[in-house]
Amino acid sequence: MTLSGRLSTFSLSDIAQVIDRGKKTGCLALKVLPDAPEPYNIWFEKGRIVAISNSPDQLGLIQLLKNRKWISNRVISDLKLLNSLSIPLGIYLESQGSLRPEHLRFSFQIQVIHQLCGLFQFSDGVFQFKTNIKAPKVEMTGFSISISEATLIGFRRLKNWRLLEVKLPRLDSVLSKSPIAHLALKLDPLEKRIWDLSNGTVPLSDIVQYVSQPPTNIQRAAFRLLIAGLVVDLPPEATLPQFNLVNKPIRTVQIKPIPTTLKDAKSSDRISSSFLQNLLGFLRSKS
């Protein structure tokens, strides 16, 4: 099964949430536009991200460890033999005493969390998710993380928001909690406040008043909740219709049942069980 589309119409957050909710295993290939040198591969196992790399020869993790000087040249030369690794490279190196545990953790943060957040700055690109493709062991640290957790952690640490300013929710945005968000993640105090007020009626501009923080802080925290799939921004207010009716005269139709029904009915009125049983029987007889 392949899922494909464009980032301009179905965001990285959206596609990652689909993979997360479906607990899918596979590789999301992401070619960002307009000038991506190599596509990024994001590998998932049961919905959790295990590795990200845009190295064409799948040496991204080794290169990262080498650049940071976290592994020695002797280890690097031995790595030529690692094509047949049966466990993630990070775990292997740690078990051999060739990589310190804290460096392994840092390498995952850089490889996955930092790179993932960097990918959100791109507004356009094409994606294709292929299921049942396992991450190469040589690109894996051995850690995994959910998209929600990775984006919350990553964007909290982000210092330079310049490229993301245009993606921040507007102050007139109204947020609503996701119906399936169980809030298993630990939110910071500002995120928690916004979460509590995300009831589909309170615009961010009002939240600014409640929490006495700069609007930008509110927008960034709301952005984190949106990207993590914990809330959604509701549609803007309806605008007046602007349809061209010149070439087609409007028909005047008497529709008695509609205004009568809409005016007289109570939204809370209940349908009798006998009606429902009859209706169900009637429909089944027609199916």
């Binding site: 899922l3 119409t9 609503s176 399936i180 009606f275 009637f282």
Partner: protein, 179 residues
């Protein structure tokens, strides 16, 4: 009983109502002047209305909403008076999933009435699976927030099957509420 069929432009709402209605559907189709014109030649600006009569005392009314979200005043009017509704989403247009998800949560904020998700155009090229469309709507594995059903709005049996699922869901929901 009043049922509302909601969804984005071109998801199949008008077709759904026409396919199952026993009367000529009262529609308010007009030539679109916006991006809707890329999807279809005419679009609903008011509502579609059809009905199914069991007997003179028992009638099922089916209302189709306009597709554009800018007509949400009409949505609110219809949804607030509905007993249950089905939200249609076209499986081959992932670019609209975010909008449908917004609609879903917008509607759930407006009213607490039974809802099912109807996935249309599942036979089109590049269509997502029904399950993946559910995930794109914000539903998760093992979460039974609402039933999801594949619907071919052109096929009467398929539409009736969707109505059966909706009525069954309504019965289950109202029983839960009462108990």
């Amino acid at each position: 009983m009043r049922i509302v069929v909601a969804g984005t432009v071109g998801a199949g709402k008008t077709t759904f109502v026409r396919t199952v209605s026993e009367i000529d559907v009262v529609d308010t189709e007009r030539k679109p002047t916006d991006l809707t014109a890329d999807v279809k030649d005419s679009t609903t600006v008011g509502m579609d209305f059809g009905k199914v009569t069991l007997n003179p005392e028992m009638v099922l009314h089916i209302y189709g909403t306009p597709g554009q979200i800018r007509f949400d005043f009409m949505w609110e009017l219809l949804i607030s008076k509905a007993h249950a509704y089905i939200l249609l989403v076209a499986a081959h247009r992932p670019e609209e999933f975010a909008t449908v998800r917004q609609m879903l949560w917008f509607l759930q904020n407006q009213v607490q009435i039974p809802l099912i998700l109807g996935v249309t155009h599942t036979d089109c090229e590049a269509a997502w699976s029904v399950q993946d469309v559910g995930y794109a709507m914000g539903l998760a594995e093992g979460e039974q927030l609402l039933p999801i059903v594949a619907v071919n709005a052109n096929v009467r049996k398929s539409v009736i099957n969707a109505l059966i699922v909706l009525v069954e869901h309504y019965m289950a929901q109202t029983q839960t509420t009462l108990s």
